[in-house]
């Protein structure tokens, strides 16, 4: 119900904004017309010039090896960071918990991380902020099962042996999925392990299904070939990749942040206009198959924004961790304090929908 209400309000708000823009346009036209009729000379004022990048600023980005980092990779590949006066050093990591750790330890300025490590760290530290979301997908985590094990719908998971990485997004996704279909985690047999090991176990027939995020879900599908049965959550769970930095860094380097935003917005436009070229770049960078990326690009959103629902989903995840005793804290943190929206508001105000 909440999501529906939100959508209604958004539609109305968008309508209001269009009306305002139209009215402004009309006034401008009439003003211009009156001036023409009166034959007054119009002197064109100088448009405010965006600040020119001066010397190259060094920025270290801790980047997770996921296709969700496409905006950063394309901005770097196409030289958008350099055009904005930034000299980017990339430190690549397999896990997004490591990228976040790199920022918190001072080994990187900016990290790309999913929600889970952010929420985990939010129980321990309050000195970091999310400065933007660069990727979101409702199909980022999937259930992959072996054909012949009687699993065709989520309800069929009852009593089955299901592999998951423990206390991960995949774990939470499975929980939410089961609850949505009248089941709980106690209704299935859970096997905890790393994604790669779980895929092998499923191949061998030791487990019936796995909850895996991309690109592991795709790898499992390749291994099982025609024996693979895949279903996602129909929008019940959203994965995101976010840009995280220390609060001190965000407040101390607003100009650098703006340059990063501008470079990422250029990359966003590039992806919008050049989907297949973008896929080729990402495939080459991450050694992924273009076919897989074509599927993923269709299901995902590579947009730079800061949305109200990010706060709500972070709280959801925090509450799940509290319920499962993954933290000693009994209340979820106030995630408004973990978001730095001023920079993006200046560069692209419409990208910030967090209520303020």
């Amino acid at each position: 119900m909440l999501y529906n209400l939100k959508n209604v309000n958004r539609v109305n708000f968008t309508f209001c904004m269009i009306q305002i823009t139209n009215n402004k346009l009309l006034i401008t036209q009439i003003k211009s017309y009156s001036l023409i009729v009166l034959i007054f000379t119009l002197l064109a004022g100088c448009s405010a010039k965006d600040e020119e990048p001066g010397r190259l600023e060094n920025v270290t980005i801790a980047l997770v090896k996921l296709e969700g980092t496409a905006l950063v990779r394309i901005a770097l590949n196409n030289g958008y960071f350099k055009k904005e006066g930034l000299d980017i050093t990339l430190n690549e990591y397999d896990l997004d918990s490591d990228t976040l750790e790199a920022v918190l330890n001072g080994n990187a300025d900016i990290a790309t991380a999913g929600k889970t490590p952010i929420v985990k760290k939010s129980f321990q530290r309050q000195d970091f902020v999310i400065v933007g979301t660069i990727y979101s997908s409702d199909s980022g985590v999937k259930i992959v099962s072996r054909r012949g094990r009687g699993i065709e719908t989520p309800s069929d998971l009852f009593g089955k042996k299901i592999g998951i990485p423990k206390w991960s997004e995949e774990h939470l996704f499975l929980d939410v999925l089961l609850v949505n279909h009248g089941l709980t985690l106690s209704d299935v047999k859970l096997v905890y392990d790393e994604p790669q090991i779980l895929i092998k176990s499923m191949e061998k027939g030791e487990i019936d299904a796995c909850s895996l995020r991309e690109p592991y879900a795709f790898q499992a599908r390749l291994k099982l070939k025609d024996n693979a049965v895949v279903f996602s959550g129909d929008g019940i769970y959203s994965t995101t990749i976010n840009l995280v930095t220390l609060t001190e860094y965000a407040e101390g380097h607003p100009l650098i942040l703006k340059r990063i935003y501008r470079a990422l917005l250029r990359a966003e436009e590039f992806i919008r206009k050049n989907k297949y070229a973008s896929i080729r770049i990402i495939a080459e960078e991450l050694k992924l198959e273009e076919k897989y990326l074509e599927d993923i690009f269709g299901e995902s959103s590579y947009l730079l924004r800061l949305e109200q629902n990010l706060l709500f989903t972070l709280e959801n995840e925090a509450r799940w961790m509290i319920i499962n005793n993954l933290t000693e804290k009994r209340r979820s943190p106030n995630y408004l304090k973990y978001v730095y929206k001023e920079g993006l508001k200046e560069v692209k105000p419409e990208a910030v929908t967090i209520i303020h």
Partner: protein
């Protein structure tokens, strides 16, 4: 009314109309701006209400601190907006008041829910029960108020949008009306101005075409009283004048026609006269030639008889023979004069000019008259400072003849006193004069002195009777030198009674040698081009002539140059070859001479001059340069030819 005034009136109306349109547009813009401000406020209220509803739901779900904080922020934001805005429209104001009232209620309910939740924490069972009641009571009330707020704000926004639409329509209508008004004003005033300008112009144009076609009786007669009317009147006036002028021209043409016919007749008569004159000249020339020979033989015969070669003759016989001989001389002079005048008139006199010292020439001429003058008890004098030289570009024979005629004339008509001959250099000319102390010429005869066969007013002495051609010949020869001749009488006031004296003055132009030289070369070149022949010039230059002139004095330097000129002249063999001096240069022009031949001549001159200088021990002091250039081998124009000859 003048065109300028019409245009000013049109501009004024257009300006006023434009100002009116501008004012309407400005007012309309202000209205739209105001409506838009209200619409933006309504949109802001709508967004805040929607946001408030959303965070209310988020808070009610999990009572998160973040949601509470956002709710508070949004409530404050909405309160700020509501406190700043004021709606005039009653419906809008009613909606606005509803929103405000509901907003206050939502805060009351929300705070009660928050307080109840805080109290329930730690007492779960109690909380559940209590919250069950709150949900039924407060949450329900809160959500109703929120829904109501949202609904009112939607309506408020719709109304403000509608108001914008109305203002836009009204504005468009008024702008349309005023723009049409402006267009009509411009069209009417333009049409008025155009009609009042273009109509008369068309009439004028038509008039010009009619008059241009030859109908000079046509009148434009426009009624316009502006500049075009004035122009039309001027045009009519001009046409009238043109008509008058045309009539005059027709008369004039008739007169010209008559005059031309008379002129043609005169021309025919003149031609006839010229033919007759030519026949006369030919006759005189032929007769003179034919007479001179027998006269010479007769004189010779008389001389032989008179000298006793043919046998002894008595004294009285000698006297007779002497008289006969004198008359033969006189007859010969008459015949010579007749020959000269006929040659002059026939244009057969050839002038061979050179740079001649007039002082020497006059001295020589005067000396020739010494005996004749003394025989009459007269003196012929010429006064010049020692070493004075006055060079003129003349044919010496012809100028001698002029002096001879004038001095001879003076002696003839002077019984007592003297004859003075002078040559004076003026700024732009050389003035020569022969003055006598004779009886002079009557005033009424002065104008006819130089006419042919004129003999008047003078008392003839023995042998004074002449042909009446001497002065006429003198004038012709002077004019051939581009000079002028005149006579003054009385010439002297201090003479005794019966004598008033006569002064004949003739002028000769002063020539710059360089210009004369260029003229020579230019003329020679023209002749060579006509004949398709070659022309060579040799320039002998004296290095540092100024220094040389100082060292040898002016006279010495020129004497040496003259000597060198004579040596070159002696070396020239072709009839058309000439040599002359300029300052520091000796220029030789070789007619129809090829380059190789010119170089041979140059070498010959060089050898001769060098030997001369060496002989006189001047070869160390005077350095000569020898240049040669030939048309068309070396140059095509006179300037190039001279330059080339100077630089080789």
């Amino acid at each position: 009314m003048k065109i300028r005034a019409k245009i000013r009136i049109r501009s004024f109306f257009t300006f006023v109309a434009a100002i009116a349109v501008g004012a309407v547009i400005y007012v309309a813009t202000q209205e739209i701006d105001q409506a838009s401000r209200i619409e933006r406020t309504a949109a802001s209220i709508l967004k805040d209400c929607a946001d408030l509803q959303m965070v209310t739901h988020e808070y009610l779900l999990h009572h998160e601190e973040r949601a509470y904080e956002q709710w508070s922020m949004k409530y404050d934001s909405l309160s700020r907006v509501l406190s700043l805005v004021h709606f005039k429209d009653p419906e809008e104001r009613a909606l606005f008041e509803n929103i405000k009232r509901n907003q206050e209620n939502t805060k009351k309910f929300f705070e009660q829910i928050v307080a109840a939740h805080k109290e329930s924490v730690g007492f779960r069972q109690v909380y559940v029960d209590y919250y069950g009641q709150v949900e039924g009571r407060l949450v329900g009330q809160l959500l109703i108020k929120l829904e109501s707020m949202l609904s009112d704000s939607f309506r408020l926004h719709e109304l403000s949008n509608r108001e914008i639409g109305r203002v836009q329509k009204r504005t468009s209508f008024f702008i349309g009306i005023f723009v049409i008004g402006l267009a009509l004003t411009m069209a009417v005033t333009s049409s008025w101005v155009d009609r009042s300008i273009l109509g008369p112009i068309a009439e004028l144009n038509k008039g010009m075409a009619v008059i241009g076609a030859g109908n000079l009786d046509y009148k434009v007669a426009t009624k316009s009283n502006d500049e075009i009317g004035e122009l039309a009147n001027t045009f009519d006036y001009m046409a009238e004048n043109l008509k008058r002028t045309t009539t005059s021209i027709e008369h004039l043409n008739a007169e010209i026609f008559e005059r031309r016919r008379a002129e043609e007749k005169l021309q025919d008569a003149l031609k006839e006269l010229k033919k007759l004159d030519q026949l006369k000249s030919d006759f005189v020339s032929t007769v003179s030639h034919e007479l001179r020979t027998p006269l010479a033989i007769i004189k010779e015969g008389i001389g032989i008889v008179n000298d006793g070669v043919a046998g002894h003759i008595a004294e009285h016989q000698k006297k007779v023979l002497n008289t006969a001989a004198k008359n033969i001389d006189r007859l010969t002079n008459i015949i010579n004069s007749l020959l000269d005048i006929s040659k002059i008139e026939a244009g057969k006199i050839e002038i061979r000019k050179g740079f001649i010292d007039l002082v020497s020439l006059v001295k020589g001429t005067v000396a020739g008259f010494k005996v004749q003058a003394e025989a009459k008890g007269l003196k012929v004098k010429s006064y010049f400072e020692p070493e004075t030289k006055i060079y003129a570009h003349i044919d010496p024979d012809k100028i001698v003849q002029v002096f001879t005629n004038l001095i001879g004339n003076a002696i003839k008509f002077t019984e007592k006193g003297h004859i003075d001959v002078s040559v004076v250099e003026k700024e732009d000319r050389i003035e020569c004069a022969v003055t006598d102390t004779g009886i002079g010429i009557k005033k009424q005869d002065l104008t006819r002195v130089f006419e042919k066969f004129q003999q008047f007013g003078r008392v003839d002495g023995a042998g004074a009777k002449g042909t009446g051609l001497g002065l006429s010949i003198a004038r012709a020869l002077v004019e051939m030198h581009d000079g002028k001749i005149r006579v003054e009488s009385p010439a002297q006031k201090s003479l005794p009674a019966g004598r008033q004296g006569t002064k004949f003055i003739f002028t000769l132009p002063r020539y710059d040698k360089e210009i004369v030289f260029k003229e020579y070369v230019s003329y020679g070149l023209q002749e060579a081009k006509k004949k398709g022949a070659r022309l060579s010039i040799i320039i002998v230059g004296v290095s540092h002539f100024d220094k040389f002139e100082k060292e040898f004095s002016h006279g010495g330097a020129y004497a040496l140059l003259r000597q060198l000129e004579e040596m070159i002249d002696a070396d020239l063999r072709h009839r058309g070859d000439v040599v002359f001096r300029t300052k520091g240069e000796l220029i030789t022009m070789l007619d129809e001479c090829a380059k190789t031949d010119a170089e041979i001549v140059r070498d010959r001159i060089k050898k001769r001059l060098s030997e001369y200088l060496k002989r006189n021990k001047l070869d160390k002091k005077i350095l000569l340069s020898f240049g040669v250039a030939t048309y068309p081998d070396d140059a095509k124009t006179d300037a190039e030819l001279i330059k080339k000859a100077r630089n080789t």
